[in-house]
């Protein structure tokens, strides 16, 4: 089977520092792949290159055989790739419902003139966005809060909202930047549940995460990086036994 | 093209540029400590110039009038920060732009009530014979301005580098959160930066007043020039602001001399737009990032 996402030889240098050095791996359809590594290992830089936020010094990323590197951020969604942010980027001054409706924006056809002249397409679009939004809010259990201002939700709920917004338009591939960061145990479980649920609906994931225990539970495969290098890749149980990983990462945790 | 003429333009450009540089330093100080671009910075220059003229009118000798005017202005800066800016710090950038614009209008209005609408003049601060350099003439006023700029730069360097207060201010410029954790009160740093910027504004107003008359509405344009100087130079450091100010002054002097005075401001602002579009971190700025 052809891989969905193909990372080949990604390298990023900042001045004299090599933050990410020649990292390659693949994500197959229906897989959850996690990237882990100690603090400062280069996870965020790697993630930002894959999500087209920063250009790599060398190497590239392909998605379904198409070159992803060099694409504009907004073009990713049109390829079916969605993402969330480590430092939460929800629309704080909009309601939960409106946040979710923005997630469905890509399916809509209204343009500025059609909106100004109130063409029938506006009403159709609004109803479509509403339908998608309500369904997604229901699936993550936020429907009862849909008229709240998003900025007034608790941090955990905001993270869930961001996740819901990312999957509303049925993307095939979702990039998650530390989805569990700042969540308590119950919230972490809830988030894992949401991720696994969406996988069962056919979604694939790549995520960067700090909480190793959760990663071991839900990831199909794990890529470990340290000092910008990929030091291991494999199934969770193999990673747990990998000596280099234990030395670089789990050893540190064990102490 | 006459060499002496070029030198002459250069001198007058650097003279005006020094004043822009002082204003730009004020902008940089406030912007970096508080994240606010203070549109009322030019009004500090107006208050400085006008109050200096008033003090002299009351019979103060020059050496007492100037420090008093600077003190009054920095007190105004402090007062504004404590009463208004402090409360408005959570506002969005759009609100902050409008608040400082509102402040500048308010100060301009108060200036008009106190000092009236007629232009006032300040006699040159020092009287000495002009010096001749390469066939060009440097007035004592120009020389005085250069000396003031250089002395202030030395003082600022000493302040930021050698005093605790200065390093605290600089720390809260680079990383406000870390500074806060280190026990530096970023709140009082904000107050300090406003009074410092007001004092610098006052000095620039006092030294520009003998060259062009002072009016209650002088603030807007010279404030804008300081702003432009800061953006051209790069906003994260004082030396960039100084370079930006001098460059802007020279650019104006030459476009005034070789093209026409009508279009000289148009050229300055076109350069501003070009810098913003092509090098948003400023010509002498280090890294971009928060800028765009």
């Amino acid at each position: 089977m052809d891989p969905l996402l193909e990372v080949s030889g990604l390298t990023k240098r900042f001045g004299g520092v090599t933050a990410v050095d020649d990292v390659s791996f693949q994500v197959g359809k229906g897989e959850i792949v996690a990237v882990i590594g100690p603090n400062g290992a280069g996870k965020t830089t790697l993630f930002n290159m894959i999500s087209c936020f920063i250009p790599p010094t060398s190497g590239h990323v392909n998605y379904k055989g198409e070159r992803l590197t060099g694409k504009k951020i907004y073009e990713m969604a049109h390829l079916g790739i969605s993402r969330t942010f480590q430092n939460l980027q929800i629309f704080k001054n909009m309601t939960v419902l409106e946040n979710a409706m923005m997630g469905a924006h890509i399916k809509l056809k209204t343009n500025v003139l059609a909106a100004g002249f109130r063409f029938p397409v506006v009403k159709r679009d609004e109803e479509e966005a509403y339908r998608h939004a309500v369904a997604a809010l229901e699936s993550v259990g936020l429907k009862h809060l849909m008229d709240e201002k998003a900025g007034r939700l608790s941090y955990g709920l905001q993270k869930q909202l961001e996740f819901a917004r990312a999957i509303i338009y049925d993307p095939e591939f979702v990039l998650l930047d530390e989805p569990m960061a700042g969540l308590n145990d119950a919230e972490t479980r809830k988030m894992s549940e949401c991720i696994v649920n969406y996988k069962e609906k056919g979604g694939s994931f790549l995520f960067v995460e700090h909480k190793v225990a959760t990663v071991m539970e839900i990831a199909d495969r794990i890529v470990v990086i340290d000092f910008g290098h990929k030091i291991a890749e494999g199934k969770p149980q193999d990673i747990q036994r990998d000596e280099r990983v234990i030395k670089a990462y789990l050893g540190e945790e064990a102490i | 093209m006459d060499f002496a003429q070029v030198v002459q333009y250069l001198i007058s450009g650097l003279t005006v540029g020094s004043i822009y540089a002082l204003l730009a330093i004020g902008f940089v100080t406030i912007y970096n400590t508080t994240g606010i671009l203070n549109f009322a910075q030019g009004e500090f220059a107006m208050i400085g110039a006008m109050s200096c003229i008033s003090f002299i009118g009351w019979g103060f000798p020059m050496y007492a009038a100037i420090p008093s005017a600077i003190l009054v202005t920095s007190f105004v800066g402090l007062f504004l920060e404590r009463t208004l800016i402090k409360r408005a710090r959570r506002s969005t950038p759009v609100h902050m732009v409008v608040i400082t614009i509102g402040l500048s209008i308010l100060l301009k209005g108060i200036g008009m009530i106190i000092w009236g609408t007629y232009p006032k003049s300040l006699s040159p601060i020092i009287h000495a014979a002009p010096i001749e350099i390469f066939g060009a003439v440097m007035t004592s006023q120009s020389l005085f301005i250069f000396i003031v700029l250089i002395m202030l730069l030395i003082l600022l360097y000493l302040f930021f580098d050698k005093t605790y207060l200065g390093s605290a201010l600089r720390a809260s410029e680079t990383n406000p959160r870390a500074a806060n954790l280190m026990g530096i009160n970023t709140q009082s740093m904000s107050a300090l930066s406003f009074s410092l910027a007001a004092a610098l504004g006052a000095i620039s107003g006092i030294i520009i007043a003998p060259m062009t008359d002072a009016t209650y509405e002088m603030g807007l344009m010279i404030g804008l020039k300081g702003f432009v100087a800061m953006v051209i130079g790069g906003m994260n450091n004082i030396s960039g602001a100084v370079m930006g100010g001098l460059l802007l002054g020279v650019l104006e002097a030459f476009s005034n001399g070789f093209l026409s005075s009508t279009y000289s401001d148009a050229i300055s602002f076109s350069v501003l737009l070009l810098v913003l579009f092509l090098r948003p971190m400023g010509l002498f700025g280090k890294t971009s990032g928060a800028r765009v």
Binding site: I73, A77, M102 | R87, V94, H95, L106, M112, Y263
Partner: protein, 339 residues
Amino acid sequence: MSKLEAKLYGPRWKPFIGFIALILALPFFVHAPHIFTILILIGIYSITTVGLNLLAGYAGQVSLGHAAFFAIGAYVSGMATTKSAISPWAALLLAMAITFAVAWLIGIPILKLKGHFLALATLGFNIIVYILISGLTDYTGGALGLNNIPALSLFGLDLSDPLHFYYVIWALAALVILFSTNIVRSPIGRLLRSIHDSEIATETLGVNAAKYKVYIFALSASFASLSGSMYAHFIHFIAPPTVNTSFSILLLIMVMVGGSHSIWGAPLGTAIIMFLQEVIRNVSHSYLKISGPVEIVVYGFVIVLVMMFLPQGTISLFSRLDAAFPRIRNKTLKQETGG
């Protein structure tokens, strides 16, 4: 209006009906010619501030350069009708098209900037346009301005009569308000607000945010051009001081004082600032015998106070008033549209 629309954006026609009633009623009460002139100017400026509100209030992009677009409208109309035989209405449309194009071109680089820098860059653009207008004396009349700009007529209706002009300008303003309200009450309005909150997140949802920012910038610029043209035909004269940066600043202040979270904030703010200026000017000149623009003191003070204590603008007082009367409507709607 569908239930979903009501749920998302509140009532559609209620404010509009109140507005139309007010516009129709005012001429019966206002007879002093100079107050009537102010009502007309409020109508003219509202067209600009409504557009600026879409840009600054909704999309969160500050412009301190809208006087420049107002100027392009006024000058294209003025030049076309005094120096050539083009019909005034054709000139007005031409001016809007030119302004749209200019704003689009300048908008592409300028809207890459954010916050204070966008404000400064648009201010710089305004200054450049102002200087060009003052300098190109052969076309614009330079500092003397353009005189004798003819009055408009519409289907034989003579608009040199202030009452006629009043109705026409407010009808135009109503159309602009309607158009803008429609934008705001649509996925596009939501998109503009999402750019305001987080541009980066908006982009990851598949929206080319830069394109929309430029589009709204150009659209609001052409509204400014429309009001500039109408201004030129109403006053019959246009000169550089009318379109300098302080006018741009004034426009932004009108939007912010009125309230940037509702289209209605723009005409409200325009009216407040215009009357505030007028009242203070009257009081200070006739009673306090102070010369000079004393109004700016009060006016600066009002701006600072409103921004600090009513950041959502004076229009938010209306919604507070509204909220003071509990409504059952919302609750029932939730149940009806919920499934």
